[in-house]
């Protein structure tokens, strides 16, 4: 839903880190997006390519990897991935939010809510 602003932050991070290292060109950018965020990787990629057009990262290969969710029940200690329902309206996953073992709604999200810039490959 907010792919544009997140992409702007990603681009800012990438360009800052690359310039700190006196990069001439940025060859690739590796990003990880949690499946429980409201970020559609395809849209992030689209915006990033747009934003980076007139920068040293204009030819960078953008790789986005999805991070699967990992949840833990605060009540019965169940751990695992949640049943997700792919909602075509938002291109994202809404999880049913209940523990499949005890039915509790007190689930802790351990993984799946991140939006990480992992690696930048540069040349000098």
């Amino acid at each position: 839903m907010h792919e544009l602003s997140i992409s702007q932050s990603i681009a800012k991070t990438v360009l800052e880190k690359a310039s700190e290292q006196e990069a001439k060109n940025i060859l690739s950018v590796e990003i990880e997006i949690g499946e429980l965020t409201f970020l559609n990787p395809e849209q992030v990629e689209f915006w990033l390519e747009e934003i980076l057009k007139k920068t040293p990262a204009k030819d960078a290969k953008i790789q986005i990897r999805k991070i699967h969710s990992q949840l833990k029940c605060r009540d019965c200690q169940w751990q695992g991935k949640i049943n997700t329902k792919d909602d075509p309206l938002y291109h994202t996953y809404f999880f049913t939010s209940h523990c499949p073992q005890c039915g509790s709604s007190s689930l802790k999200i351990r993984k799946g809510k991140e939006c990480l810039v992992r690696k930048i490959r540069i040349s000098r």
């Binding site: 997140i6 880190k17 690359a18 709604s105 939006c115 930048i120 490959r121 000098r124």
Partner: protein
């Protein structure tokens, strides 16, 4: 940050651990800290476009302004309509225009907080941008988060947007005066909320008459 030094013309990798959503969470924690230090209680009000967020804030202000020092951050895409409406109640309002953005974030709130004299503030209401999806992903540093759903949004709103209810401390079911016209029942909306989180508190309101507002004040100890 790890980096491998290289000679001229060489290619190398910069490894990072830069989580952009985490960064918002960290900023939110800072905001909360600043509010706590000044003993300000901040309430984030989320909900769809037109659900009654500004009306709710106005109702709360009318009942609280005699005994509390109040401030409002009004988030809106581009207009100042809501800020003007709140100013009628003679409380301090800071308008935050998000431009094309679909939510407020902790950074915008940090900037808005600078506009207030926090030492002289008891309660800060933050009206988030009308949207049931994005605000859930961006904590602001508030102490309580309210979701306003109104009966005019139809019977499926809660079921379609479960995520925001996971982040809420209170659900206000507004425009109960229109239940019959809309053929939407308070009971079914309440049931939908409790299917997501059985313990989540719901309060029914009519912001035109002020029904339910006292209950909110009591529940949030305002």
């Amino acid at each position: 940050m790890k980096s491998i030094k290289a000679k001229e013309g060489e290619i190398f990798d910069i490894e990072l651990e830069e989580d952009l959503l985490k960064r918002n969470e960290e900023l939110a924690e800072k905001n909360k800290h600043l509010l706590d230090k000044n003993k300000v209680k901040a309430i984030d009000i989320m909900g769809s476009v037109g659900s009654g967020k500004t009306s709710l804030i106005k109702n709360l202000i009318v009942r609280l302004k005699k005994k509390r020092c109040l401030g409002v951050i009004a988030g809106d895409l581009t207009t100042t309509i809501d800020a003007e409406r709140i100013k009628e109640e003679k409380v301090e309002v800071v308008q935050v225009n998000t431009g094309k953005e679909c939510h407020l974030d902790a950074n915008l709130i940090a900037r808005a907080l600078k506009e207030f004299d926090l030492r002289n503030l008891d309660i800060l209401f933050i009206e988030n941008v009308g949207n049931l999806i994005c605000p859930a992903e961006f904590p602001l540093g508030s102490h309580k988060r309210i979701v306003v759903v109104s009966l005019t949004e139809g019977p499926w709103m809660v079921t379609k947007h479960p995520y925001i209810f996971r982040e809420a401390d209170l659900v206000v079911i507004n425009k109960i005066d229109l239940a019959r016209a809309m053929k939407v029942s308070v009971e079914s909306i309440t049931k939908d909320v409790h299917r997501i989180r059985p313990e989540l508190k719901t309060i029914c309101t009519n912001c035109l008459t002020g029904e339910g507002i006292e209950e909110i004040i009591k529940f949030l100890s305002l």
